[in-house]
């Protein structure tokens, strides 16, 4: 996979989530995504960025335009140094939440992505990466 362009944004306050959404949109448009695919990855980005703030205590988002052969895609990596996730499998279940939300953030974002990965351990922070291809 070749990274054509990489940008990093802070994810600390709720306005940052809006900025992440807007930058992800720019990358998705440039990769030639359809409107539906743009909407899907921007929505996934919004969910994970919010988790980075609410559960990770803030962190950063790396937004990358990538190519794999002739395929174009957008890869997102959200990392925080928060408390980490104890049970990743459970966190990925629909409706499971330790906050006050609907418990759809992680599971929903996973469904909206082509690739999805979580690295986390208690006390080690959390890194969520996801990608969507044209």
């Amino acid at each position: 996979m070749i990274v054509e362009k990489s940008e990093t944004l802070p994810v600390r306050v709720s306005e940052d989530v809006v900025r992440v959404r807007q930058l992800v949109r720019v990358h998705a448009v440039k990769a030639g995504f359809s409107l539906v695919d743009q909407t899907k990855i921007v929505t996934a980005a919004s969910e994970i960025a919010r988790n980075t703030i609410d559960y990770g205590g803030g962190g950063e988002a790396r937004i990358e335009s990538v190519t794999l052969g002739i395929r174009k895609g957008v890869r997102l990596t959200f990392s925080d140094k928060g408390p980490g996730i104890e049970d990743i499998e459970r966190a990925l279940r629909d409706g499971y939440t330790t906050g006050g939300g609907l418990g759809l953030g992680l599971s929903g974002a996973k469904r909206l992505s082509n690739e999805f990965d979580i690295q986390s351990a208690p006390g080690q922070g959390t890194t969520v990466s996801l990608a969507r291809w044209k």
Binding site: V18, V36, T43, S46, G101, L104, S107, L112
Partner: protein, 129 residues
């Protein structure tokens, strides 16, 4: 600070969300709208989301909450103008928006609100449908 305007038309409140809302703004709208339903004695609330490029779980929850709160306050809420790409994404996200009535556009939304209010005022109407 930004604020989303709430317009009063007859016994209805109209909100058109024209900005990419951050979460605090969404919560503020929820509070403002709930207060306005009481102070204006509105019977219907229409929320136009035709300018929204995404509806994620947070905004979805806000729409659900507004619908639930207005119901408790004897008003009906109709969400209008959802973009097709937003609808497709919302379903895949797993958000059903149960409890939220929707209409394709503002015209149909007003029609639906009138219908819902009339239905409540005269239960006999329902039997004729």
């Amino acid at each position: 600070m930004d604020q989303i305007p709430i317009l009063k038309i007859g016994d209805c409140l109209l909100v058109s969300i024209q900005v990419d809302m951050h979460d605090r703004l969404a919560l503020q709208l929820q509070d403002d709208l709930t207060n306005k339903i009481v102070t204006s004695r509105a019977r219907g609330v229409m929320i136009d989301i035709s300018a929204l490029e995404i509806v994620d779980s947070f905004i979805g929850r806000m729409l659900n909450n507004i619908a639930a709160m207005s119901k408790v306050l004897d008003a009906v809420t109709v969400v209008v103008g959802m973009r097709p790409a937003v609808a497709i994404t919302l379903v895949e996200l797993g958000l059903a928006l149960t409890g939220v009535r929707t209409a394709l556009n503002v015209d149909k939304g007003l029609e639906l609100i009138r219908h819902l209010i009339d239905d409540e005022q005269d239960p006999d109407d329902r039997r004729e449908e």
